[in-house]
């Protein structure tokens, strides 16, 4: 049972040696790039923030695809739905919190 299916799906949904290596190399490059940009002061602070945020988002997707094996197949549609909902929640929580506290700072005594 499990043996047959392991063979059937080998190399796809579980990832393969090659896909793990690809994911690892991409993740390592993105990580080193983020550290290098900050440590070597290559960009202005504002630009640095934008670029390392972008690198982080890209790296998150590299991990999701190569390590957590997310994909767009129909068998994963509920996994992806749950993920999308969680992502929206997190964006509202973080964005909303920053917005509210920023307004507090602007309108109250602290500035």
């Amino acid at each position: 049972m499990s043996q047959a299916s392991t063979h059937q799906h080998e190399g796809e949904s579980h990832g393969s040696f090659a896909s793990y290596i690809i994911g690892f190399v991409l993740a390592a490059i993105l990580t080193v790039a983020a550290f290098a940009i900050v440590e070597m002061h290559l960009l202005s602070p504002g630009m640095t923030f934008g670029v390392i945020s972008g690198l982080a988002v890209v790296q998150i997707f590299v991990h999701l695809i190569y390590f957590l094996h997310m994909n767009s197949s129909s068998s994963q549609s509920w996994n992806n739905t749950a993920f999308a909902f969680a992502a929206v929640c997190v964006l509202i929580i973080i964005g909303g919190t920053i917005f509210v506290i920023h307004d507090v700072g602007m309108n109250m005594m602290s500035r």
Partner: protein, 203 residues
């Protein structure tokens, strides 16, 4: 229903796709709630990151070399866990145990570095009670560290559980896949930690 769609045509046992069985899907939903937990902690840190209360700033405190080493250990542990999973799917217990043991040691190394960093900060008078910035920092990073600790305990448990004649049952593989998702998820949270906590504070 969600679980029917996740495993169509009653193939719950045969369908060994990564998120194939209901157990693994259920664990995925747990991870998404964990994601929201971390979201709230990141939100707290985002608004407290400049509230130093006259105390030390992140720029003065954080040593990127140590953070880089922690990042490297966690990233390496992700790929060694992946190789452990491949060994398990190939039903090779010995290879799986070796990879899991390496993963465990890398995770332990990460934890030791993190605890040393915490000890140094507290020793320098930059403990969690010094400022809102440090409270938010310790809460966020220690919560991640606590998850890593749970992951280590779980790795040890699946290693011990593999010592039975019939190892790679559907049940065991489910457990292993959940642990795999958990461990890789922690690495994703760490991406956000090193980017938005450490690197951003040092800019």
């Amino acid at each position: 229903m969600a679980n029917l769609s996740a495993t169509p045509h009653g193939s719950a046992h045969d369908d060994h796709e990564h998120h194939g069985t209901n157990n693994v899907f259920g664990f995925w939903v747990y991870l998404m709630t964990d994601c929201i937990l971390f979201g709230t902690l990141f939100a707290t840190f985002a608004v407290m990151r400049t509230q130093f209360a006259g105390g030390p700033t992140g720029k003065e405190l954080f040593e990127l070399n140590g953070v880089g080493l922690e990042t490297a250990l966690l990233l390496l542990s992700s790929i060694t866990f992946g190789f452990g999973m491949l060994s398990a799917f190939a039903q090779k217990r010995g290879a799986m145990l070796v990879w899991l043991a390496i993963t465990f040691l890398l995770g332990l190394g990460f934890l030791v570095l993190e605890l040393r960093e915490f000890a140094n900060l507290i020793h320098e008078g930059a403990g969690p009670d010094r400022s809102a910035f440090l409270s938010a920092f310790f809460t966020l990073v220690a919560t991640h560290g606590l998850h890593v600790t749970c992951g280590l305990v779980w790795i040890a448990i699946v290693m011990i559980q593999s010592f039975t004649p019939q190892v790679f049952t559907t049940r065991y593989m489910d457990k292993l896949q959940c642990l795999s998702l958990f461990w890789h998820f922690l690495d994703i949270v760490w991406i956000c930690v090193f980017t938005f906590v450490y690197l951003l504070s040092v800019i």
